[in-house]
């Protein structure tokens, strides 16, 4: 049985200037343990969809089933109980600004009826998990965006949820912090077997952590499937558009597919202008030295009106030939630089 089933869901908003059909007949199935991405442009209905999953928004039509039980069948009180097992985090963190970090994490515990001491003990465990133990007495205003989101994650985990809903959880963060928060979410998914629903407008986020993805456009699911399938074979135009828009701004390079022996070797950056034939250079380099190199990244940048190619290479760990190989590249007209700031 799927953990979350969204069945023929429609949501229509009545506003002063007419009706808005935010969701039109949306159906999805999210399995236990999934990190499920829901991606789409602004206004596609992503927030509305995720808010229907804990009935913060009541659908106009259709059903939402959590572990086979329809949320629509619950009374107000049962619904509140159910919400305790569904954590949620937000783009703007939504922390209590007048309460300390510790008290923020305690908030859901008090809802569950925990006493102060028990709540504090549990909150400290959670802050440990998100790496913020030393900030327990700070106030949200004293934290960075990434730290605030960590507090929000700790708060969302307080009641041992089975599901975590993330509405644009990294959209207010810089790329580096985004990576660390995504890393944390992935960790939580694995360690606590929590199903995660990730709402985003960035394909890079989906690629980074999701196993399945639904692409939402104007309230309709345009594409759905395994992330790897969508990337290799996007059926819809929106999917292609989103993937295309993504290629330029990598959050980072995954090295999980790299053979072990060339992980964590020395990295260099080579830059070529339009007339240096770089491909044969790399091929010849490998042939000449009889040693593999890993291409971590290759892209072109417009530098002062001239197209410049850039490539990041990683040498075999413990290679004794790196000096000669660098010289070889220099001899073939390429600029070679150190890489010190590469985020792994």
């Amino acid at each position: 049985m799927s953990e979350i089933v969204v069945e023929n869901l429609s949501k229509t908003f009545l506003s002063k200037d007419g009706t808005v059909e935010a969701l039109k007949n949306v159906s999805l199935q999210i399995e236990s343990g999934d990190i499920y991405g829901i991606i789409g442009m602004s206004g596609a209905g992503k927030s509305t969809l995720v808010r229907c999953m804990n009935f913060l928004e009541v659908p106009s039509e259709g059903r939402v089933l959590i572990n086979g039980k329809s949320l629509g069948d619950y009374s107000e009180k049962e619904l509140r109980k159910q919400r305790e097992s569904i954590g949620m985090i937000f783009q703007h963190f939504n922390l209590l600004m007048q309460k300390s970090v510790l008290e923020n994490v305690c908030f859901p515990l008090y809802i569950q009826g925990k006493k102060k001491n028990a709540a504090h003990a549990r909150a400290l465990e959670l802050l440990e998990i998100v790496g913020l133990s030393e900030k327990q007495n700070a106030y949200p205003a004293q934290l960075s965006g990434g730290q605030k989101q960590r507090v929000a994650i700790a708060r969302a985990l307080a009641c041992d949820p089975k599901i975590l809903l993330c509405d644009e959880a990294t959209s207010a963060l810089d790329p580096q912090t985004t990576v660390s928060i995504l890393e944390l979410l992935k960790d939580i998914n694995r360690r606590f077997r929590i199903t995660i629903v990730v709402i985003t407008h960035q394909m890079s986020v989906v690629r980074e952590i999701c196993n399945r993805v639904a692409i939402l456009k104007d309230g309709v699911v345009a594409d759905e499937g395994l992330v790897s399938d969508i990337f290799t074979n996007p059926k819809s135009a929106v999917a292609r558009e989103l993937i295309l828009g993504d290629s330029g701004n990598d959050l980072r390079i995954k090295s999980s597919n790299t053979p072990e022996e060339i992980q964590s070797g020395e990295k260099i950056r080579i830059v070529f202008s339009e007339n240096s034939a770089f491909e044969p250079v790399i091929a010849n380099l490998v042939l000449t030295f009889g040693e593999p190199v890993n291409i971590l990244r290759a892209d072109t940048k417009n530098v002062g009106g001239v197209a410049k190619g850039e490539m990041i290479l990683e040498f075999l760990k413990g290679s004794t030939q790196t000096a000669e190989m660098k010289q070889y590249l220099l001899d073939h007209g390429l600029a070679v630089g150190e890489v010190t700031d590469y985020v792994e």
Binding site: R80, N94, L95, L96, M97, F107, P108
Partner: protein, 219 residues
């Protein structure tokens, strides 16, 4: 003319003014705070929209607020007699002061609570918090700086009203100012009472702001 008698009268005036101001503000909040909370909760974007309740409270607040205080004071004299047993003196004046303060305070509470970030309320809802918990543990807590600042404003306004009630024998510094400054042309006594009123106002202001700042954790 600065006889012991006059000084005693002024000291008593300060006491009466403080008594009226603080008691009416307290009673004003006793009723105005729940009224403001109800206005917020039952409004159409509130936690429990309820058009009839909102409309009734809204109309009451508007009617009372649109009557100038001096007229209200005279208008409700029969009511004051029932509640306080008489219609003059500082204790009796607390009745019209409170009546005027309730809707005024309710409106300020309403506006403070509506400033609370809807995202925070949504987060609390997502954690399964009920309406009462959201009001008492989220809205009142998050809005406390604004509530205290508005409380300071309420004190100042009610202090001003107490002076007005002096015109109809309400007691306090206002009463002295009117009696000596207007009826007897003793401007010096009037000026002293006005200065005392200004000092009281400043005192409320300074203390209120200091408390609000001390409690604000947003910076």
């Amino acid at each position: 003319m600065w006889s012991e008698q006059v000084i005693n009268m002024i000291v008593k005036g300060i006491g009466e003014t403080l008594y009226m101001t603080l008691a009416s503000t307290f009673l004003g909040y006793l009723f105005g705070l729940p009224m403001g909370i109800l206005l917020t909760v039952t409004d159409k974007d509130g936690l429990k929209p309820n058009a009839p309740i909102y409309k009734i409270l809204d109309v009451i607040a508007n009617i009372v607020r649109s009557v100038p205080f001096l007229i209200l004071l005279i208008m409700i004299i029969p009511f004051t007699r029932i509640v306080a047993g008489k219609s003059y003196g500082s204790t009796a004046t607390i009745v019209p002061l409170t009546v005027a303060a309730i809707p005024f305070i309710a409106r300020m509470v309403e506006s403070s609570l509506k400033e609370v970030d809807p995202g925070v309320i949504e987060a609390a809802r997502s954690m399964g918090a009920g309406t009462l918990r959201i009001v008492f543990k989220v809205m009142l807590v998050e809005a406390r700086t604004s509530l205290i600042v508005n409380g300071t404003i309420a004190l100042g306004t009610i202090l001003g009203y107490t002076a007005m009630s002096g015109a109809v024998g309400g007691g306090g510094l206002g009463d002295i100012a009117v009696r000596y400054g207007y009826h007897r042309w003793q401007t010096d006594i009037m000026i002293v009472t006005v200065i005392l009123l200004i000092i009281l106002f400043q005192l409320f202001q300074t203390i209120g702001m200091a408390i609000a700042n001390r409690l604000d954790k947003r910076k």
